[in-house]
Symmetry: C4
Subunit: 323 residues, 4 copies
């Protein structure tokens, strides 16, 4: 594959993709993140724990909080146990297990600052540890407050991209099309999109990825409330000009999409990336409409389940085939 | 209605409105949001609960918090009751109702971490549930803290738009005008406005909405402290050029306004949208001034109640009428 | 004053100041806010309590918090007192004053969720009020947390402007100059400035303020770490071209400055405004340097106390005087 | 050093660096901040304590919190002790030390609102102080919450710059190169870089720093996931055109780098600065690659430890040497 395409492609490739021409695999993973791993440096310096906490799913995040809470209380329970249960009032001293259970609950009552007082510290050491634990508890909840806020106030575009791109008929020629739609009750305006293609070509006998900017019919729309079908016409200025169905099937292509919009609730710019590789491009197809007037004809309904719906469509003969 | 207007309109329509040409009803609702509903996908994925929480009125938001607080305590009261009131000290065991009331208050004293200790858990199960409830309580208040902050730090423009737009005399021709004013003690600078019109025209026998960019006399002002009257002169470049009073009354028109400004307190861009449909456009009227010097002549007073005040005004004969 | 200046000024005035031409007093107050007051609408709608809370001084803000705390506790103390002190354990019932004091402290122990338990509610009504008060307490501190964060994370430029502007000699002609310097340990980059002048001229027999954009030698600097002297050369394109010392003294002038910069700590754009009226413009003066190398010649020292230091300087004869 | 270079440099210097031409030492410190100190004004006005808190290391920040906690409790312990231990229940009155220890722990139990109740205030004065301390405790943790959130939500670029810049062969001429790479799991897009050089030249017999904008091959890249080698070709338009190895070694040069990118997690612009002085520029060297395909050829690996790796490289003869 990828033999001789460089000669076919007449558009000048762009060099500011930020990716090298000999990188491996797809450039942008299906989740929108670059397909790059890092090594070197101290591993603790390589991770931003805040970014990590924000990327966890809600279930993972809450689980970690609960586990941390239990571990902290077990830790402090051991300390109180070592200090001696006689320095805590109200402990059930019938057997060591009950003693440990009671210091565990004393710890949790201290950490959460609920402090019923049925169990309370007496004497210097136990009081000092409790003093420190209550302080730690409050700091922990201060941090948790920040993490919760950071998680749910994190601006996100909430856009659903079609799983596939299509090569569809368009104004007498072919066009590469994909579409996207906002799927939550957020409100996006001033959306713009940058589309580029990484195409593997042979250069000096070895395969190299070249990046090309793809022109789109509209690169900006005012209100992103319905779906947006992004259209790249395959005309003379397109790197895909003259590509046959086989060319599309046998070349390593990756369409990289970078979308920016303004979210009115966050009053912030949000970005989302998507990418389509060779096997995700359907040749000779046309998207079906995904919005329609509601029954009272007073509003428009956007049906998100139709985002991947397409039907087969004949493409106009390509220039090469015509010859 | 709307027959034959396409021929009248000479300006090229724009295609980046983001709305389809066969959408129904008004495009932008009176509250500034797009008139679109969504279906498909799992309904829980379709809503951002954070956006929803931020869009609630203060009264709704506080009510939900109180209701959630009561429900959580009833839930935990049931659990403590099932575990058995003998595992809590200080319960009034005179009758089951009193028992339930006391476990309910024990629950609330745990959830809020007030923990008086008059009622306190004894034994493993009750202590464990209390341990978890206090933890849940703190997390809940961490989330509430984030929601409160998210709600009141949410950047908003606080602009009042006039309820109506007018077609007023302007430099020998007519102009479409509407106005807006900041109504709170925020401070806006660098305001710019984008105005477009959706006009329903007949195309191939069926009505279609076409979008036109409307040029404004000023599209940017430095300090938005007084009212701003946005003026679109109806000259040769306007899609409304040649429209008679009847044309304005009988055509489905929607003027869509998109305003952006920089809020100095939030140090953030804020946006606000407005829209005027056919019945909200007054033909032959002129806005009355809404600010004047104060009595000491040292400051300017902006009277917000006058924002919709206008008086009748004769328009110059339109080109067509002149002919 | 202000007679006939319109003829003198050849620059076209700009219309996007956002201020009217018959506004009164200075346009921008010395604190950088527009000199506009509002009336009309419900007064509660006219104020953003969040903006108000952020504009309070630290002392005012803390005082309001303390006062609110005391009032809330007095309010709840009354309620507990009305319910009856027999529904609270541990109350000192020696006399009504002591009773009230004890319910007051019980209220504060509930509101802050400290809940020692020496005084604790017994029975339905008192427990219910306490349940609600603890909840209210936590919500209040959730709101206070948001306000504290909103207050200290509010992006601000922390720029000190010189109290006066000067008309100084500059490259053979005169120039209007003022200067500004960052005074805190924040770090500003990409600063740009927009300077305009409001000049009162006679038009149709009545005084009107006209706005003129003033060109500056540099309108953008990369790093705002030292002072920045903004220079407007009074050449043919300046509205002040040909102004004599008397013209500067007898005309109502207001120089309006709008500065934007990027704060690296907040990662946000910050803005600050300043204004200079006629009496704050010193004719024939030159600013003295305000930074110098440190003793070890390894760093630069910026002396903020010198920001207003100037010395008298002869100006080149103006064009008119030359004639 | 620095004699006569002005004649050599043909590019016009730029004046909007924001630095003076007689400043001392390097302009940008190795940590990216300007090398400027301030004096004058009240010292408390010169510091933004919030900026200071955000700049502390995590260890310093936590240490300050712990120290403040201990000091506050010692302070309140003294007050309770002066009021008299008889106004607190449950105090161990065996000796003054034990008394003080117990009031200290009572203070901490109040400040954290844990309030076990084993020690509780009785009477007006002690109760009033405790009321105030609990309130202060909650406000303190409200502030701490804000500081924690401010610290970890502070947008930062997390970019590692190479410690050295190199003068490397590039397309037949020489080029100044340095590189940078993201080292954390954040995701940067739309990166742009502004590079300028401060060169000390003799002017009127005294050394002066002149600033020159340096053109780069790419000034913008779309996705900053791998390393970015910034290249300034030393052609006719470069201020370094004609510089020999000795010129590079004997001139006071400072390369100032200002990088901006968009962080997708923070949805915010982040900036980072770097600077290279004469001794940090290696003449005749070429950076070694720092990324390569992984073993499965499915992803790209970025090795951060190689960021400073270079090997010697011959430079093409400079124009002057050729002559």
């Amino acid at each position: 594959m990828a033999r001789g395409f460089k000669e076919k492609i007449q558009q000048k490739n762009s060099e500011n993709s930020g990716f090298g021409d000999n990188a491996s695999g797809r450039f942008i993973k299906k989740n929108g993140l670059p397909n790059v791993s890092r090594k070197g440096m101290n591993i603790f310096n390589r991770f931003s724990w805040y970014h990590t906490m924000l990327d966890l799913s809600t279930f993972q995040f809450l689980s970690y909080l609960v586990i941390a809470y239990i571990l902290v209380n077990i830790f402090f329970a051991f300390i109180y146990y070592l200090i001696g249960v006689e320095h805590l009032t109200g402990i059930d001293k019938s057997n060591p297990v009950n003693e440990f259970i009671d210091v565990f609950f004393f710890s949790s009552q201290t950490f959460t600052t609920v402090g019923y007082g049925r169990i309370a510290p007496v004497g210097f050491t136990a009081s000092l540890v409790a003093t420190f634990e209550a302080f730690l508890g409050l700091l922990t909840f201060a941090i948790a407050t920040g993490l919760f806020y950071g998680r749910f106030s994190r601006p996100r575009a909430y856009l659903k991209f079609s799983d596939i791109a299509v090569i569809a008929p368009f104004k007498g020629i072919s066009a590469l099309m994909f579409r996207l739609a906002p799927f939550k009750n957020n409100s996006l305006t001033d959306a713009d999109v940058i589309v580029s293609a990484a195409i593997e070509v042979m250069e000096d006998g070895s395969p190299r990825s070249k990046f090309y900017q793809l022109k789109t019919q509209l690169s900006k729309i005012n209100t992103l409330a319905l779906n947006w079908t992004v259209v790249h016409a395959i005309d003379e200025e397109s790197p895909f000009y003259g590509f046959s169905e086989d060319d599309f099937k046998n070349t390593d292509i990756e369409i990289i999409v970078h979308l920016r919009a303004f979210d009115e609730v966050f009053s912030n710019t949000v970005v989302q990336r998507a990418s389509y590789v060779t096997r995700e491009i359907v040749y000779g197809a046309r998207f079906e409409p995904m919005y329609y007037p509601d029954k009272q004809n007073l509003s428009t309904v956007l049906d998100l389940d139709k985002i991947n719906d397409y039907k087969k469509a004949d493409l106009p003969a390509s220039k090469e085939e015509q010859q």
